[in-house]
Symmetry: C2
Subunit: 150 residues, 2 copies
């Protein structure tokens, strides 16, 4: 029921209660501290999303599919994967059934990096959501999941 939201003094009635703006602010707020860790490790935000997503995709994933997961356009992702491949983080295997498709998987080094980052991210999540109690955090995630579902 509180109302003080904006970064500083001047209030802005509309944006303060407009959902996409609240979401954008919350996303920035909860990911900024962790992004500093990424930067110190020379890993970009989109690369981090690739690592986090691929970590749980046991059977690999195509580029188009991955691009939807990581919220990055396909051509951009394609070049980002070049960088990650050259650094030994991911591999592009030719698809078994459909040879147009690529099966993206993490290398051992990629998995190791992903694991390290996931652990750090979960630790940060705790700190960055300290304003909410356990029940509220769970409820927030439930509502967001409901919002994203179609």
């Amino acid at each position: 029921m509180c109302s003080k939201t904006t970064p500083d003094d001047e209030p802005s009635r509309f944006v303060e209660t407009y959902l996409p703006y609240l979401l954008a602010q919350a996303a920035q707020r909860t990911s900024l501290p962790f992004h500093k860790i990424l930067k110190s490790m020379g890993i970009k935000e989109s690369e981090w999303r690739v690592l986090g997503t691929l970590y749980d995709a046991a059977n690999g994933m195509g580029v188009t599919q991955l691009s939807r997961h990581v919220l990055v356009p396909q051509p951009t992702l394609s070049r980002r994967l070049d960088h990650m491949e050259s650094r030994g983080l991911v591999t592009r295997l030719a698809g078994a059934h459909d040879r147009r498709k690529v099966a993206l998987t993490l290398t051992a080094k990629g998995r190791e990096t992903a694991k390290t980052l996931i652990d750090a991210a979960l630790a940060h999540e705790k700190v960055d959501t300290a304003n909410l109690n356990g029940y509220e955090l769970q409820e927030l995630k439930r509502l967001l999941t409901g919002l994203v579902e179609e």
Copy 2:
């Protein structure tokens, strides 16, 4: 309590429950349809945020302050304001007390544009959050506000 979250078939356990990712997805999901309207009007997302923020700032606002509100780096905003000023949407008045500061305000045209967009945004918010009932939406906003506060 549902679990189907990701855009398509392959599930990703970690990212599905990681808050910053959920927030990023929700932000994209709830703002994508409206962004098409912005595009058709030739207005960029950052410009929309400027309009929405300045609409309620009766006494104007400085560039640094605004840059925190619209989540855009100050130099980027500075050039964006050049464009908006040349299109007659905003004005930069020299600060009264401190002449280093600029008092950013909307022109009449800027206010008119902002009003039109705010009305459209509120209409879209209803549609894009149709998955949630009125109570849930209110609760979501409350939790997000709590998350953003320091």
